[in-house]
């Protein structure tokens, strides 16, 4: 994989990669670290992409796998204690404030979910189909549907409780 092609791919997908990291890890510094790790993992693995799946699915899969192993490493280092640290928040134009408040609330509810549920809802928020989520998460399409319904109910309750 030449560098130019890699940069083009990253430029196209960086926002979605970042949001998956954001959904999986709560603490701002750690999100940045995970994002960097995903970029490295993609640099190493993109050359193995043979076009059997869509490129975006491949990228999501690498991101998810990197996030899972990153989380495993963190748990060994008792990262749970860091969850109380809030990510960067500062005032910006009015519409951004609303978005930020909603985003923070959503993230604070997502972080309470199980590891796999965090990934599933993150991919759902990225508007991936049930089939794609099933492929990435390694579960059946039906189970994705069941899971998403349950997660939505949990999130709705959490958001109502914290609004």
């Amino acid at each position: 994989m030449n560098q130019r092609r890699y940069e083009d791919i990253i430029r196209m997908h960086k926002d979605t990669i970042y949001r998956v990291c954001l959904g999986y890890i709560y603490e701002a510094d750690l999100v940045e670290d995970l994002f960097q790790e995903v970029l490295i993992a993609l640099w190493k693995s993109l050359s193995t992409f043979r076009g059997e799946a869509r490129l975006s699915t491949f990228i999501y899969r690498v991101t998810v796998n990197t996030a899972i192993s990153f989380n495993r490493k963190l748990k060994k280092h008792h990262w749970e204690n860091r969850l109380e640290h809030s990510p960067v928040v500062y005032d910006s134009p009015a519409d951004e404030i609303t978005n930020k408040e909603e985003l923070e609330l959503l993230r604070s509810c997502i972080r309470r979910l199980e590891d796999q549920d965090r990934l599933i809802i993150t991919l759902h928020l990225e508007e991936l189909s049930y089939k794609e989520i099933a492929d990435i998460a390694g579960i059946s399409v039906n189970y994705v549907g069941v899971k998403i319904n349950r997660i939505k109910a949990t999130l709705k309750q959490c958001i109502q409780d914290n609004e």
């Binding site: 960086k14 926002d15 990669i17 970042y18 949001r19 954001l22 701002a28 510094d29 940045e32 994002f35 960067v88 928040v89 500062y90 005032d91 910006s92 951004e96 609303t98 978005n99 930020k100 909603e102 985003l103 609330l105 959503l106 759902h124 928020l125 990225e126 508007e127 939505k152 999130l155 709705k156 958001i159």
Partner: protein, 196 residues
């Protein structure tokens, strides 16, 4: 997707990866706006101080200084020192306009916001206590011992008013503290990224 989740999805999808230049540009706008508000609040605060000292002087002059002791003079001096100190700290802590993304410049901004944060968290209480003491000394000098009732009422009213201001302003104070902590975190994060 459910309607309620769509609303949150919009916020979710508004998240983008920003490079240092973009982050600095956004932060620059935020800091510029904050400086404007800070300058305005300094003007109001100074005006309030000047009016308070003016009233004390006016009462003193109209009484031919007859009933006033050296305590009022001391209190007046303390008030002036407080105002000077307040303006001096404001001058130091008014964050310079962030220009180039240089670590040294970021350090100055971080120091400036850290000092302001400290002022909000700790010095505000010292400032309010001194201001209250100053007014109570002035009342005591003016009314004691002839008019004890007025002295008590004036003291209670002043303390009550200060507490009311603290309660009303508490929400804004917490918001300011959160804002400043956020700016400091972001500045530190940019500085760290620049070093890397």
């Amino acid at each position: 997707m459910s309607d309620w989740l769509k609303q949150y999805q919009k916020a979710w999808q508004s998240v983008h990866v920003e490079n240092i230049d973009e982050r600095l540009r956004k932060l620059r706008e935020v800091i510029k706006e904050d400086q404007k508000k800070d300058r305005l609040s300094t003007i109001w605060m100074s005006l309030a101080f000047i009016i308070a000292i003016g009233i004390i002087l006016w009462v003193a002059v109209s009484n031919n200084f007859s009933s006033l002791t050296s305590w009022t003079t001391v209190a007046g001096m303390v008030a002036l020192m407080l105002l000077t100190g307040f303006l001096r700290i404001k001058a130091i802590t008014t964050a310079p306009d962030p220009g180039k993304p240089e670590t040294e410049h970021l350090n100055k901004l971080i120091a400036s916001y850290s000092l302001r944060l400290k002022m909000q968290r700790q010095y505000l209480w010292i400032y309010l206590t001194v201001l209250n003491l100053l007014l109570i000394v002035f009342y005591a000098d003016s009314y004691y011992p002839e008019n004890l009732k007025t002295l008590i009422w004036a003291t209670l009213a002043t303390i009550g008013y200060s507490l009311l201001v603290v309660i009303i302003m508490n929400k804004k104070r917490k918001k300011d503290i959160k804002f400043m902590s956020g700016v400091i975190d972001e500045l530190k994060s940019i500085r760290r990224d620049l070093k890397e």
